[in-house]
């Protein structure tokens, strides 16, 4: 085996490599665990929902409760305790029954009351109460109503009334396999055949939270077939770019658009992105620089300044090759450490959320932090060519950590303040330029490129595109290390 490979092999099997990898793995795994347990999961809160409908056909009150779970599937066997009372709050009849295999509990009560209320409480088979949104329905002069203000609870549903005061339920559903996918189910109770005959349609659009709701540019979405009488489900296609935006649904029956519009803010963050966000807090500005600076110190700088490297330079290898082999070993140990770390993080997130890290997020995290680690290491290899003592080198390394690491944003902002740069777009563009001057921010830049968003602006509008991302990355990998190599070959 030639000396070059021999040295890489020794570097990789050294004690420091093991310490480096173990530290990276432990910290990443802990972060992934945190992201995993706090992420939205594919499973909705364990809740069954009762969607009631009452109708008076003159002497007979018809009650129809439809029970679904958070995925929109009918739930059978839910025990519902109901009570019908008259306007003087005297009980007309109590009724207890369970939803059938179709999810319905239907019953009739004979009463001449034209104004009455209906109270219901769902009980699980284990005896615990099921969630209810507002368990009182008022029937007044032939119209159904409820006094609630519509609010969103999870899984949420809202009741709307069309102009005929016939209820329309809009329920936000989760997807069984994919927590990032959210659907909206529209349910129109069908006891009254005139409503049942009304064809329904739903459309949606996505707007920034402040832009308001405008039905004109609504997309059609993928409206499923009616799986159940009166039930329509629409699944808008939402991506990470739609984070914090409004998703607006427009429900139409035969003649009119139902008012108000169903609308909610899309807050789902993929677990991989959540991990990336969590890591961004301290990985890029602190942990990776520290590990990178110390790894460069232990793999190379320490031996060079102590003179130990001379006992190897006396062997058939050149100073340049020896530096490359140490640098390569250094970089490969980071690659291995990050691969193992993110691989395990992936398994952990899958375990807790049911979702793997997307390959794009995985790649951007891996490349981002690897480039950062290599960039910092390269700077250390470079300064090692000029400094004579271990103290000087470590001192400069810690200076790098301060300046390019956790002080960089403050320094950048101070600089821009001093330069009187005020327009926000200009400010962001300049911050971006300054961010690319520190390897600490490369992971953020590549993540912004991947998400397409930079501080709320579109990434491409501030100049983050494939070319700038590749060029900055290559620059951090190549420039410090090649300069270090140049001087390692030239200087004693």
């Amino acid at each position: 085996m030639n000396g070059f490979l021999y040295d890489i092999k020794r570097t990789l099997s050294g004690k420091f490599t093991i310490i480096l990898i173990v530290l990276l793995v432990l910290i990443t795994v802990a972060t992934a665990y945190g992201a995993g347990i706090s992420s939205d999961t594919a499973a909705p809160a364990q809740t069954d929902l009762v969607l009631p409908y009452v109708n008076d056909t003159g002497g007979v009150i018809h009650v129809s409760d439809y029970v679904i779970n958070g995925y929109g599937q009918p739930v059978s066997g839910l025990s519902i305790t109901s009570s019908i009372g008259n306007a003087s709050i005297n009980t007309i009849e109590n009724y207890t029954g369970s939803s059938n295999s179709q999810g319905y509990l239907n019953f009739t009560v004979h009463s001449n009351a034209s104004n009455f209320y209906y109270i219901y409480t769902g009980q699980y088979t284990n005896g615990n109460p099921a969630a209810y949104h507002n368990n009182e329905i008022v029937y007044y002069n032939g119209k159904m109503g409820r006094s609630e203000s519509y609010s969103t609870i999870d899984p949420c549903y809202s009741t709307y009334f069309n102009y005929s005061f016939e209820p329309i339920y809009a329920v936000i559903l989760k997807d069984k396999a994919n927590p990032s996918q959210i659907s909206t189910m529209v349910y129109v109770p069908y006891i009254n055949s005139s409503i049942n005959n009304q064809p329904l349609s739903i459309s949606y659009n996505i707007s920034t939270a402040s832009a308001g709701v405008n039905a004109n540019n609504a997309g059609s979405g993928n409206v499923t077939e009616m799986t159940h009488p009166g039930v329509l489900i629409i699944t808008p296609s939402l991506t990470t770019k739609d984070l914090d935006k409004n998703v607006n649904f427009f429900i139409n029956n035969k003649t009119e658009q139902v008012v108000p519009t169903v609308s909610y803010i899309y807050t789902y963050i993929k677990p991989g992105v959540a991990l990336q966000n969590d890591l961004a807090i301290y990985f890029g500005i602190l942990l990776i620089p520290i590990m990178s600076i110390f790894s460069a110190y232990f793999y190379y700088s320490k031996d060079k300044t102590s003179g130990v490297l001379e006992s190897i330079i006396a062997r058939p290898i050149t100073k340049g090759k020896l530096m490359i082999s140490r640098f390569t070993g250094n970089s490969v140990s980071f690659l291995v450490g990050l691969l193992i770390s993110f691989g395990l993080a992936d398994v952990i997130l899958k375990h807790y959320t049911g979702v793997y890290i997307s390959s794009g997020t995985f790649a951007t995290m891996l490349i981002g932090y690897l480039v950062e680690a290599i960039g910092f290491a390269g700077l250390m290899y470079l300064i090692t060519q000029f400094e004579r003592t271990q103290g000087q080198i470590l001192g400069t390394g810690i200076g790098l950590l301060f300046i390019l690491g956790f002080m960089w944003t403050t320094l950048s902002e101070a600089l821009l303040f001093l330069l009187h740069i005020q327009s926000i777009t200009h400010l962001l563009k300049n911050l971006l330029i300054l961010d690319s001057i520190s390897p600490s921010y490369y992971p953020d830049i590549i993540a912004d490129y991947h998400l397409g968003v930079y501080s709320g602006l579109s990434a491409s509008s501030v100049g983050i595109n494939i070319y700038s991302v590749v060029i900055i990355g290559l620059a951090w990998v190549l420039i410090p290390s090649l300069l270090a190599l140049y001087f390692a070959r030239k200087r004693d």
Partner: protein, 298 residues
């Protein structure tokens, strides 16, 4: 074979080695003598490829140490003045690692390493980390390390220095054994007499250049021998007695009779005893080589 021509090495503006020329043939031991700071170590480090020459050429078995370092390094072993090895390593794995640079596989290397460590009496410490080695053990370890790859040329920087007398003899014998195998050897010392019985030639170095090269023959005829005497009861007439045997020098304690190659010290002793002097010490003195050296390099 080592050929150094016009070697200059500057540190900033200071020339530690200045236009130095030196050849060492196969089977030759060249002594490099000079006071501290003369530039011996700098010359050796440049020859070992540790530092870059400012100018000049260094050939090891005709491989250029700058242009073709990897090949040149295969042919040269270096025993540094101050051995400095990875302190947390144990000797055998470290030596195996070194052997890897010469393409020697681990099993073959281990056989040689064990043999060499036994030869240099450090095998008993094979499980100790190098940071726990004494200075003498480190020096022995660096001899083993220099033998990795079995090169044909060796650089020994002050290697005899700081060893106990038995160590000096062992290393001297080892160097002579290498010479018999036809290897070229450069051995530096700041004490000329240390080189006297080993080196075929001695290059005397001062201010970064070689000011004189002495052959073994020159060494044997350098200076003059003298007879050194100490008398317990000297008096005015003593000078007169001693002057009969040759030129006289007095350093305040010893008398030294020079140009006395054909005088037998016992004759002088007899004369002195006859004249009632109490002779405390009388002996042939040969330190003139060192004097010669010091006079030249001062």
């Amino acid at each position: 074979m080592i050929a150094i021509s016009n070697l200059t090495k500057s540190f900033k503006n200071f020339k530690a080695v200045n236009d130095l020329n030196m050849d060492i043939s196969n089977g030759e031991i060249l002594g490099l003598a000079g006071l501290n700071g003369a530039g011996k170590t700098t010359t050796i480090r440049a020859t070992a490829g540790i530092i870059f020459p400012t100018s000049g050429k260094i050939l090891v078995d005709n491989f250029d140490m700058v242009e073709n370092k990897t090949e040149a390094s295969k042919h040269i072993g270096w025993v540094p003045e101050l051995p400095n090895f990875e302190p947390d390593s144990r000797p055998i794995p470290l030596l195996k690692y070194y052997a890897g640079f010469y393409g020697i596989n681990s099993a073959d290397a281990e056989k040689d390493i064990v043999e060499l460590m036994k030869k240099f009496d450090i095998y008993a410490y094979k499980d100790k980390k190098l940071k726990f080695y004494s200075q003498g053990m480190k020096k022995r370890f660096s001899l083993v390390a220099a033998m990795m790859g079995n090169p044909d040329n060796f650089l020994f920087d002050e290697t005899l220095n700081g060893l106990d007398p038995q160590g000096v003899r062992e290393v001297r014998d080892f160097i002579i054994e290498l010479k018999k195998q036809g290897k070229s050897i450069l051995l530096s010392s700041h004490i000329l007499s240390e080189l006297q019985n080993v080196a075929d030639r001695i290059a005397i170095m001062k201010n970064g250049t070689i000011i004189k090269i002495l052959t073994r023959d020159d060494l044997n005829h350098l200076g003059t021998t003298g007879i050194k005497i100490h008398i317990k009861n000297p008096d005015d007439k003593l000078d007169k007695v001693l002057l009969n045997f040759g030129q006289l020098e007095y350093d305040g304690y010893y008398y030294m009779i020079k140009n006395s190659s054909n005088v037998d010290p016992s004759d002088i002793n007899n004369e002195l005893v006859k004249a009632n002097y109490k002779v405390d010490y009388i002996g042939v003195q040969n330190e003139t080589l060192e004097e010669y050296f010091l006079n030249m390099v001062k």
